[in-house]
């Protein structure tokens, strides 16, 4: 009996060792890749098809794709990094990239880029490449881009109110259209202004400031929100409040989408990524690129995601191969639901998948990035609070003065 027990013990102890021997023979590396999904374009299925293609080309690398809903993506990534369970590769929002670099969560990629045949700076949109730079090193490879915002409009409502859609590219035109389209008794609102404190309202407000020739920060890093151009843009947004649905401070852009889709809102603001959602709806819609004061060009706010390799990864070489694959001109367009960051891929992607490809490209080329700083999230938080104060009735001058004193204290 004792002998049988001993043999059993030996067998149990030996199983993990034998298992390892087998694994070493196969030498298969499994990479974990995290991405988030922002649209209803069926991204996961496209990514899986690309992954199958990659695995066929590299039989020794397996990819485990994890798609996380956008709203919880940031929390999950931070938790994973803090808990030592970071994926090998993930997408990170452009605005997180400097923070991830400074925190040591991700690794610099300059050496890989120097030896790469496919990844080079001039293959990507310049603003996107810039967003991955920190301290003269490259910490991510641009994956996808987009620009806030395009004004999507409801054709039927515009026709009924006799409004020319092109008129809403100017501030005066937008306000006049909003007024003409608004009829609160009928539950109809001209413009889908929202004010819930998150990044979406920051990019919209920034684009109004940029379009008026203003900026969030001066070149020396000090706050520029109290400059006349910014103040004017913020006052202009306040003047649109009577034409927006009630409950501005707790309204998200997703709430506005619901109202737009059911015909209660005439104009909604989104990046081009809104198109798949609208295409799958029954709404008759059109869109124009941004809004600016008469005589000025609408300037959008740059957005997008970069691919990073985590410092904790045990398979950095293999991870780099996967990044090269995902950002190549033939593949990049198949694995994104925004616009591919690879310029060649973007051109064919837009022609195939988006209406108004030229307009989108032009708006993308005019776009300005948000401040690239490891403190960006704090800066954004201050801006969000400022916008909430202004939308709840505080004087613009007082709110920007308060925000600027906080931003300048960030250092």
């Amino acid at each position: 009996m004792k002998r049988i027990g001993l043999m059993l013990l030996i067998v149990i102890l030996a199983i993990p060792v034998l298992g390892n021997v087998g694994a070493q023979g196969d030498d298969v590396v499994t990479l974990t890749f995290w991405d988030n999904q922002q649209t209803e374009s069926g991204l996961s299925a496209y990514q899986q098809a690309a992954v199958d293609e990659f695995e066929a080309a590299y039989p020794n690398i397996k990819i485990d794709v994890v798609t996380v809903p956008y709203t919880e993506y940031q929390d999950r990534l931070i938790l994973a990094v803090q808990g030592g369970n970071a994926p090998d590769i993930s997408t990170v929002d452009q605005i997180w990239n400097p923070a991830f670099a400074v925190a040591g969560a991700v690794m610099p990629l300059d050496d890989y880029i120097a030896n790469s045949e496919t990844v080079a700076e001039d293959a990507f949109f310049p603003g996107a490449w810039q967003s991955a730079m920190w301290d003269n090193q490259v910490w991510g490879i641009p994956f996808n881009v987009d620009v806030w915002q395009f004004s999507f409009y409801n054709k039927a409502l515009f026709e009924a109110a006799g409004v020319d859609p092109e008129s809403i590219t100017t501030w005066d035109g937008l306000k006049a259209a909003a007024e003409a389209l608004t009829d609160p008794d009928a539950g109809q609102y001209g413009v889908g202004l929202f004010g819930f404190p998150n990044e979406s309202i920051v990019v919209v407000v920034d684009s109004f400031i940029f379009s008026n020739g203003g900026a969030v920060l001066h070149e020396d890093g000090s706050c520029a929100l109290d400059e006349p151009e910014s103040v004017e843009a913020l006052n202009y947004l306040v003047s649109l409040i009577p034409y927006a649905p009630e409950g501005l401070l707790n309204t998200k852009n997703e709430d506005i989408r619901q109202l737009f889709l059911n015909g209660s809102v005439g104009i909604e603001w989104w990046p081009a990524l809104e198109q798949p959602t609208l295409q799958s709806s029954e709404l008759d819609w059109g869109f124009v690129a941004g809004t600016a004061p008469e005589g000025k060009t609408p300037v959008g706010t740059y957005g997008g995601w970069n691919l990073v390799i985590y410092d904790q990864s045990q398979h950095k070489e293999e991870a780099w191969k996967f990044i090269e694959f995902l950002t190549s001109k033939d593949v990049n367009g198949k694995v994104v639901d925004l616009i591919p960051a690879n310029i060649e891929a973007a051109q064919s992607f837009l022609a195939e998948n988006r209406e108004g490809a030229d307009m989108i490209l032009e708006h993308l080329n005019n776009a300005q990035p948000r401040p690239l700083s490891p403190n960006y999230l704090e800066l954004s938080d201050i801006e969000q609070q400022m916008i909430q104060s202004i939308f709840s009735g505080a004087a613009v001058e007082d709110a920007v003065a308060d925000a600027c004193s906080q931003i300048n204290d960030l250092g």
Binding site: A105, L249, N250
Partner: protein, 311 residues
Amino acid sequence: MAAQIRVHTAKRSSPQRKETHGLGLAILFVLPAAVLVLTLMYYPMIRTFYESLFSTSFLNPTPEYIGLQRYSDMLHDSDFWQIVQNSLVWTISVVLFQNVFGVLTALLLNQNLPGKSLMRGIVLLPWVLPGIVAALLWRFMYDPQLGLINSILISLGVTTQKTAWLAEPGMAMVAVIVAAVWKGFPFSTVIYLAALQGVDQQQIEAAQIDGANAVQRFFRVVIPSISGIIRLNLLLTTVFTFNYFDMIWVTTRGGPLDSTHIFPTIIYEYGFGKFKFGDAAAYGVVAVLILSVFALLYLYELRESIRGRAS
């Protein structure tokens, strides 16, 4: 616990060896639970306090010792006092109304009315609904354009305006309190229903014979009989409410303008919204300190009620 068992074993058997054996056995039984409590509860709590003494964030993963600096900064920060004020308003209001409604519905369900069992089941619905689902439900109902509440009020002619319940700084707190009371009062109902069934019917009948009316019977006989349970339930619901995260996070995320931020939501926002783990830890420690007062009161009440029953 170990001491109690030791006393019992000592009474039963005098030999020294048996007593030691009993003690060892007691420790053996208690050990797994003790290890679990230590690792899952006390270690994270102590670790949180330790974390709050350092300036740590996602950007500065290397901790820098700052001692109690953060606590002294916090006491001079108006945002902190706003959180304290919000937490007090939220907790006191929700607990008060939950308990009042709890007692009233329990009294109703304690009557011999037709369909009593069915009603008892239905009244429990809000409590068994998952927190996120309940919060989403209320978010939809409060929606200014599409929400049920505005559409009912407008169709009844109460108002012509679409009220943005969750978007006005003064109104939002009231709105989340109403939602939380709805979600939580069935818990109190169940507790009080059980308590009411333990009230001595003879006393009530005696009071009735002596000429006490329904209100007098309620305040002079029923309430004193269940006062121990009321105190316990008040304490329990206070702890639940103080820690209640989902309702506020889903409906307002602490806004507008921080007017509904309470301790759990601000801790989450500092930790995961701003990556300021040290600040999140400090708020966590203060929350634990506040809750400890209630926990001690709860333990005291529990001991008193056990003593009361024993005597």
